[in-house]
């Protein structure tokens, strides 16, 4: 009996699913051992029966349930709960599912703010009331999957690297629990570090890092030590895959922005980064947009509405003028 898989994507972009396809030949190998019973991107199973005759959302039973995306509206919540109920193991796939991801940046604003901008004041739009027929209502904010359903496996990444996805399936098929790396991006970064003390302020990424293109990354000075905000110290490793590559943004000579979420599932990238900077003598007021330190992990109540009370660990709006 092949192992059955039901996959859903909620408030998301399909990047996680594309990363799955990027396993290449391994994807075809995997298809010999699993049987997909639900996966909207590739597979025609429908919620309301194949002829649209049912009135309630139906998800088939499966051994493994995989959910990408956060939970933004009532229908996504219903689907998430159905997948949970029908699957023995639930995987939260990608940083939106594990920590809210980029869409949780919306948690800073109210839906009224959004609708006013989108349906009433946009330059090209014929102003109208926000849609309210058939479309599901929004929840009060974007939730990570484990805020609404019990999660068995966390697979962070925006998107998770295909190497880890392949390893995750193989591990589950072997009856084991997959593990994510426990190191930080910094721990796996080959750039040259010289030590504390030389950088007082963070500069915006308005000009390139200093590096010699023909030389290996091990000869490029650490981007944080070049004065660029690099989230490597507080971000889970894994973007480089399992074959000895380097963190991917660093290989493009661009600083990390934290897309694999905090090193520990319940870590706080904002607090941890401010601590890391302060302990290195860097003035944290030089960061132009502190909320962005939570741009991948704003669920779990970390980012809340600007008008609301400041939650634990959330920065004030401090914006420094551009540094020229």
């Amino acid at each position: 009996m092949p192992v059955t898989v039901a996959a859903e994507s909620l408030s998301s972009c399909a990047g996680c699913e594309i990363s799955m396809l990027n396993m290449g030949g391994l994807f075809l190998e995997l298809l010999k051992e699993i049987r997909i019973v639900h996966m909207p991107l590739l597979f025609d199973h429908k919620y309301f029966g194949q002829a649209g005759e049912e009135n309630f959302i139906g998800i088939p039973e499966a051994d493994i349930g995989i959910v990408s995306g956060g939970i933004r509206n009532e229908e996504q919540l219903e689907v998430a709960l159905k997948v949970r109920a029908q699957c023995r193991i639930l995987v939260a796939l990608g940083t939106c599912a594990t920590h809210g991801g980029i869409p949780a940046l919306m948690n800073r604003y109210s839906d009224e703010d959004l609708f006013r901008r989108y349906y009433r004041t946009s330059e090209t739009t014929e102003a109208a009331a926000p849609p309210n027929e058939v479309v599901p209502r929004f929840l009060d904010r974007t939730y990570a999957l484990d805020e609404k359903a019990r999660v068995d496996v966390y697979m962070a990444g925006c998107p998770p690297h295909p190497d880890y996805l392949g390893a995750m399936f193989q591990t589950l098929l072997d009856g084991q629990w997959p593990e994510m790396p426990t190191k930080s991006v910094c721990d796996t970064c080959p750039t040259r570090r010289e030590g504390k003390g030389n950088v007082q302020k963070i500069r915006r990424f308005t000009r390139s890092a200093r590096f010699q293109n023909e030389k290996p990354l091990s000869e490029m000075k650490c981007l944080l030590e070049q004065g660029l905000l690099c989230m490597g110290p507080v971000t889970r490793a894994g973007c480089a895959g399992l074959h000895g590559n380097v963190p991917m943004c660093i290989s493009a000579r661009v600083p990390c922005r934290g897309c694999f979420g905090p090193v520990k599932q319940d870590g706080n990238q904002l607090l941890d980064m401010l601590n890391a900077l302060a302990s290195n003598g860097i003035d944290v007021r030089s960061i132009p947009d502190r909320h962005s330190l939570l741009r991948f992990s704003g669920a779990h109540g970390r980012l809340i509405r600007a008008s609301g009370r400041s939650p634990k660990g959330e920065g004030r709006d401090v914006r420094s003028p551009a540094e020229h």
Binding site: I18, G25, L28, L41, E75, Y109, T206, A252, R257, A322
Partner: protein, 469 residues
């Protein structure tokens, strides 16, 4: 399997049927990138009274990028779409360049174009073989559990292997040169984050020549096994008559995926041409109470907006069929030869919705040819790829042709270079009105006297898939 888990009790929930057995819900629309629901409304005789495609959620990018330092935004808006993140990345960077008044060194521009066009290649392979082909190769009436890429892998393992390998190759080429291939980071305001070295150029050239070979194979395969084998009824699924929007090279009116003038063509073939900065003078967006997605229309035509099948008003289409309709020619030889053949057979503008599939493969050829051409240009390894940018108050409109259509990012910044206002019109949004019309047309043609079955509903969905939303 490992440990067994207790199945939690199912959650009982609200009724989705809108209180009538007269509504047939097709949800989720499958083998598309986005999230949508089709509702077919039947009258008392069981014929189609109306059909709607509902976009069921939204994430709010236009709102939550407000206040962010503009140079960060090209790394945020990639998450609008995991299938076409490069196009959002590039359009956003262009918009930020505009806000900051930045110039981009010519090789920086070239590297942006290279990556943007390379990203089209993988997208088209994905769409044609993984999402659309199962309907044609396995049959639109075949059992739903085999009508997919897994079914193709079963039936034609060699083909599946080739397709999967080609996508893998494309993804690895992008990753090895530019870091992340999904949700890229290498395009930066002012240019590109790193130059290309000769060894990278050679490696990419070898890969891109393989891709070009594959594109020729894909076109031959599709002509002999798909297009010629499609029955006349299927060829007419979702046919409607609309205008078209795409980008052309100002010098010769040729297809351009990266930059140029926007050309908005009426159904009769006449057109307006304008720069991306002027988009709001030509395009408006209409709101319906039953979809979170807005409906762009050509307000420059002065006829308002209507999705009425007999008398549509203001409706135009984007994506590959639109681009090859508005372009006078294609500046790469293999794709140009295909365009000539296409035009002699279907005229200009070609209206048939199912022709999107053929147009997509013509663009696949063009993209592969263009990538080789760019990699062969002698200055592509020039080290000056980025100029410094200076945050300031300004406005910028960034535009590229994304796989699904003309992509527009329009930002304003304050004096510290943070976003104060953003307006986006993304590829698929342009096509929401035509998709609604095509679905209604398909449903009307296919559903009569209350007779509905699975294969038939799948053919209604084929009207959506053609647009690759």
């Amino acid at each position: 399997m490992g440990k067994a888990f207790q199945i939690e009790p199912a959650d009982t929930t609200q009724n989705h049927g809108e209180g009538a057995r007269k509504v047939i819900n097709i949800q989720p629309v499958t083998r598309i990138e986005g999230h949508a629901r089709i509702a077919v409304h039947l009258d008392d005789e069981g014929n189609v009274a109306d059909a709607r495609v509902h976009i069921m959620s939204m994430r709010g990018f236009e709102k939550f990028i407000e206040g962010r330092p503009a140079e960060e935004v090209p790394r945020i808006v990639t998450r609008i779409c995991g299938i076409c993140p490069w196009q959002h990345h590039v359009a956003s960077s262009k918009a930020v360049d505009g806000c900051f008044g930045a110039s981009v060194p010519s090789v920086g521009r070239k590297l942006r174009e290279l990556m943007q066009v390379m990203a089209h290649i993988n997208d088209k392979i994905l769409h044609f073989f993984f999402l659309a082909a199962p309907d044609f190769l396995l049959g639109s009436d075949s059992e739903y559990s085999v009508r997919n890429i897994m079914g193709i892998a079963e039936k034609s393992p060699k083909l599946a292997e080739k397709v999967v390998q080609m996508r893998y190759l494309g993804q690895m080429m992008m990753e090895r040169f530019a870091g992340k291939a999904i949700h890229p980071v290498a395009v930066v305001p002012g240019g590109f984050s790193k130059p290309m070295v000769e060894s990278e150029r050679q490696e990419l050239l070898a890969g891109s020549r393989q891709q070009l070979e594959f594109a020729r194979y894909a076109m031959d395969f599709a002509k002999s096994r798909v297009f010629s084998a499609t029955d006349p009824t299927t060829k007419r699924i979702g046919d409607i008559t609309t205008g078209f929007l795409g980008t052309v090279n100002p010098a010769d009116g040729s297809l351009n995926l990266y930059e140029g003038l926007l050309r908005l063509m009426r159904p009769d073939g006449s057109f307006h041409e304008f720069s991306s900065r002027e988009y709001a003078d030509f395009i408006g967006e209409h709101v319906e109470p039953w979809s979170y997605g807005k409906f762009p229309f050509a307000h420059a035509w002065g006829e308002g907006f209507s999705m009425d099948l007999e008398q549509p008003r203001g409706v135009y289409r984007t994506n590959c069929l639109a681009r090859i309709n508005v372009a006078d020619c294609i500046d790469t030889p293999l794709a140009q030869a295909e365009l000539v053949e296409f035009r002699s057979e279907f005229g200009r503008p070609a209206q048939s919705t199912m022709l999107y599939h053929r147009a997509r493969l013509i663009e696949l050829l063009h993209a592969c040819e263009k990538v080789v051409e760019l990699l062969e240009s002698p200055d592509i390894t020039d080290p000056r790829v980025r100029d410094e940018v200076w945050p300031r108050a300004g406005r910028g409109v960034g535009c590229v042709e994304a796989p699904r259509g003309t992509l527009i990012h329009d930002y304003s910044t304050d004096e510290s270079g943070c976003i104060t206002r953003a307006n986006l019109i993304v590829g698929t949004t342009h096509n929401l009105a035509p998709i609604n019309m095509s679905v209604k047309k398909a449903a009307r043609d296919l559903i009569q006297n209350g007779k509905v079955d699975e294969g038939l509903l799948n053919r209604v969905e084929m009207a959506v898939r053609a647009y690759d939303p």
